[in-house]
Symmetry: C2
């Protein structure tokens, strides 16, 4: 720090006061919000934005700019006030807080150019910060990542997953600040102002810690210096603060969480705050105080062409192996692609990526929330992350996936070992809700290959499609049925069997495609022709193609899926063809499954070839009888 | 311990050896499984079952029996071997491991009478153990709860949520044991054999810790003594072990995770293990060594009658307030009912339960995974737990909810502030996937009241229905439309408006019921009659009632829901009426929403009365044009 502290400190204090005033004003204008959660962190925010961080308010996405993530997203008003003070937009916009027409939402989202990830579901920002910090290493930048947590959210397990990974990766470019303001939403927090409780936890998890008075500007600046100079480990600054700081009737007071001040309260508060302004120290040039990032020249890194698949039709290859192969090719071709694991890389085959690009492979051990959360941070900074594990364990990160959808983060989830076709391990290892989870999000691409060729192709499609994507992958070996030069555009489907005599359309995906093909052979032998579709793209879905098939088979449509009935293939097809007046007969898993051999389970739980045959016969019979 | 250690120890050692042999045999018979994960914990298991725990193998559900939860569920074979050795069933059953016809599944589930919660998704068992330990306090029993964790799973954030709550609740009736066997699935664990890493974390989180050699029987017994004698805090025994212990070619060796031995390997292993049997010490009477629980006489506690709701038609009452009222009534009426919160009790109104029964109200602070996990343990022990928070944050515990479904645990989730109707707080606080999550599970009851009367009634229904249930609750005040004596059986619906002239059936739930009623009024004024249904029960769903309505309106059906299109009301109705050949026109939220006033948002995102009116007009017009 070259600036003279004696003149810097009163300027920062005045900015902090102004941020409090702006936070109070905007929340009162909105009629809701969390002004007192802003007040406690105003001094820290002032120091970070106007003395510590290197960034360009006019270009927040500068690749070498320091990052700031507000993990306690409910303090959004002070984040907005800080960026306005920095000159990113006009301060008058702050009064549109929470209005439908404004991007200044109740909690921050990446609709705003200076927000990397949506926050507001607590304990997630710190996981995303891990990803931002990892990305600095990936691109060879010295930018630093700052993340501000609430004390209340420190009870979230995801925070401690992030703590472990920060230590493991020795992220000394990462600095956390916990705003220990003592008061939660419904009562005082678990540890209140017992700073030792926080310190011993973070120390135990391997972080450097600094305990300070979060309203002492000099102490804040010293702590940030100390963090910057700490090597080999991340730093957590534990700042003891007062919720509602600076206003007599809110400071340290209960029952102010998430409440905007009434008009008269606002006037009193502003009166009190204005008296705290150090005279003769203008904040008019706050923007001029900001340190600028030093942008590096970087050679353009064009992704190389990805070689096509090279399988032989009829070979038995699990889609998870093809996933590993595709990841390895992406590793070699595109420096933006990174992979993240939760200690199953030898089962998912993501270790094939690790062999090619060990420096872009991040092992999180058994901690799925930080794996997905870090991916969100990586994606926000330009990486194309593939977090992968067993599909059922992605469910552990469901709320992160929800927030990734809200933020539109460009993450590429891959879930292997989907469905009952995993066999003996039993229901705890079977994902039967994963399609429901990802299809529910309106901006997710959802893909589901059945063979090795389509798996490789769809992994590459997922990497290149914009926004969040999920690829569902299976455990068992399945025959290769596509040619290496077949393509699988997102939003498409493949008609595998068709004739003018087709009486029913059977739609499978993944392992059930092969059950449908078996059913085709059996039915054909007895003179009944069916159309068979591989619905490899569930979202977007080819409504036209499905409707055409339904029409060709007089509206007789059967779906068969290795997934529960709710939210999966059947529901997707049903909606896609509903406008044309067609309904779906769904074959799906309809009870809690159990251990057994894969084939036995497909039979027992109603999604095998024999069930398809019976459903076809019954549907055709019913139509005749009608 | 009254037994003579000198004679006890060799007996326990021999039982441990026998458990290793049985684990190896059963996994080889199955052709898959995790024998080496069993070997590392064999000595601990022997000590727990045959020297420490008080239980009755013939009645594992004895309410005063000590509990054992295998958090590392993949070691199921040794759990089964221990219960067989205890005499719960015949040892020959072990060789049916993982067969479709056997309840000895790949990972433990409560199909087995001695399993409280399904495990196999790591980091969950310790959360359930919190619930078992809390339950002992609820029923006034001195039973103790033991939970065995893997070292790898200690990276899961949920473990640290449980650690906090165990300390907060001073659960000295809870004893954890971490089997630190150093080797994860794909590589050595994060901390390998650095026992200090484990110890400083557990100590920092407030637990008493004991570090031991997990293969030293005397040390194990001493540690269990120490745990039993430690007051005011839970104990974590950190046991340094060797994966694959006892067999030369597996002990401490890589690449043995999740692999059954081949036949010849098994023979060699058994040969080596049999040599370790201390001669002259029979294990034939292992069952006789077990300590018996001292069952208390307890007066039968009959639940009292729950008073009916007492609202006035037309009053504006949020369903979340009615939820609080219902919880308070249940608190007074039924000592089995408990409530769990994650620091939002003043918004969900679960604080009304706390006021009536503070000793059955468990505050977890902001930690949704342990809240739901503890509920699973409580439910397994006879409590009727209501974990509640904002519906969107229940999503944080999605994987626990999945496992609760697998275990069929009798938990009653309540999610408030569902949907875009919360308004200004924005998308991070809006649950729009929660119906998809709970409807996907085949054994969940899913209820969704629209007014205060139905909310109170349905909360009571949820308490009394068997198995997992979810009640979706809204933030805004809505008018009371039902009489206090109306009933709401699970699986039913209410037809709110009907006439012989109805041209379309409009199905709402929760806040959209009122949009449907507004649309009814508007359409009626222009001479168009619609049928309006309140679909308060989504699972089970009244397919007959819905089909009858669809038929009465010539197959014209509109659903309108404050939820994303995937997996919600529309999909549920579509499947329910598909067999009759009817399709659904779905009004739902179809993009990532944003902040704004509730009414503005219903309009903007397509689920307001005006959208219903337009959809009705368009559907009727289309029908006329057809």
């Amino acid at each position: 720090m070259t600036t003279d502290r004696a003149s810097l400190i009163p300027a920062l204090q005045n900015i902090a006061t102004q941020l409090r005033i702006d936070s109070a004003r905007s929340t009162t204008a909105a009629g809701s919000g969390h002004p007192t959660s802003c007040f406690s962190m105003a001094d820290i925010t002032s120091a970070l934005f106007f003395a510590e961080m290197r960034f360009d308010p006019k270009n927040p996405q500068n690749v070498d700019a320091d990052r700031f993530i507000l993990s306690k997203g409910h303090a959004a008003p002070i984040l907005y006030a800080a960026w306005a003070a920095a000159g990113a937009f006009d301060r008058s916009e702050l009064l549109k807080l929470r209005e439908l027409g404004s991007d200044l939402e109740g909690h921050p989202t990446p609709r705003l150019p200076f927000v990397d990830v949506a926050t507001g579901s607590l304990g997630q920002g710190v996981c995303a910060a891990i990803g931002c910090a990892l990305n600095a290493r990936r691109i060879g930048s010295d930018y630093r990542t700052y993340v501000l947590l609430g004390d209340g959210e420190s009870a979230e397990g995801s925070v401690w997953e992030a703590a472990n990974v920060g230590t493991l990766q020795k992220l000394d470019n990462l600095c956390g600040i916990t705003d220990v303001n003592r008061l939660g939403q419904s009562q005082p927090t678990m540890w209140q102002h017992d700073m030792a409780q926080f310190e011993r936890r973070w120390k135990a998890f391997g972080w450097h810690t600094v305990v300070i008075d979060g309203h002492d500007m000099n102490a804040i600046l010293n702590a940030l210096d100390e963090a910057r100079n700490t090597k080999g480990q991340p730093t957590m600054i534990l700042a003891r603060t007062e919720k509602g700081k600076g206003v007599s009737f809110t400071e340290g007071k209960d029952n102010w969480h998430g409440k905007a001040m009434k008009k008269d309260e606002l006037e009193r508060a502003i009166g009190e705050l204005e008296k705290q302004i150090v005279p003769g120290v203008s904040t008019a040039n706050a923007a001029g105080m900001i340190r600028k990032p030093e942008s590096k020249e970087r050679p353009a890194q064009m992704p190389k062409t990805i070689p096509p698949p090279s399988y032989r039709i009829g070979d038995q290859v699990a889609t998870r192996e093809a996933f590993g192969d595709a990841l390895a090719k992406l590793a070699a071709a595109d420096p933006r692609v990174v992979a993240l694991d939760a200690d199953v890389k030898n089962s998912t085959y993501s270790d094939r990526f690790q062999k090619v690009a060990p420096d872009r492979f991040y092992e999180n051990f058994i901690a799925e929330q930080v794996m997905v959360g870090a991916s969100m941070g990586l994606a926000a900074r330009g990486a194309i992350p593939f977090p992968s594990t067993f599909a059922c364990f992605l469910y552990r990160a469901a709320d992160f996936i929800r927030m990734a959808a809200i933020g539109g983060n460009n993450i590429k989830l891959a879930g292997t070992h989907a469905g009952i076709s995993i066999g003996e391990d039993g229901p705890s290892q079977m994902a039967l809700e994963d399609l429901a989870m990802c299809r529910a999000e309106p901006n997710f691409t959802v893909l589901y290959p059945c063979d090795a060729v389509s798996a490789e192709r769809l992994i590459v499609e997922a990497a290149h499609v914009k926004g969040p994507a999920y690829v569902r992958i299976s455990r068992p070996k399945t025959p290769v049925i596509y040619s290496n030069d077949d393509t699988f555009p997102v939003g498409g489907l493949k008609v595998l069997r068709q004739s003018a005599q087709d009486v029913v359309t059977v739609i499978g995906a993944g392992v059930t495609v092969f059950e449908a093909l078996k059913a085709y052979d059996q039915l054909k032998a007895s003179g009944t022709m069916i159309r068979v579709i591989d619905l490899y793209s569930l979202a977007p879905i080819d409504g036209q193609g499905l409707t055409a098939a339904a029409r060709a088979t007089k509206g007789r449509v059967i779906t068969v899926e290795d997934h529960y009935a709710g939210g999966g293939v059947g529901d997707g097809v049903a909606e896609a063809i509903a406008d044309a007046g067609f309904t779906v007969h769904r074959l799906a898993v309809r009870e809690i499954p159990r251990s057994g051999k894969p084939d036995e389970l497909l039979e027992r739980f109603g999604i095998s070839a024999s069930h398809i045959v019976r459903a076809v016969v019954s549907l055709v019979g019913a139509a005749v009888a009608r």
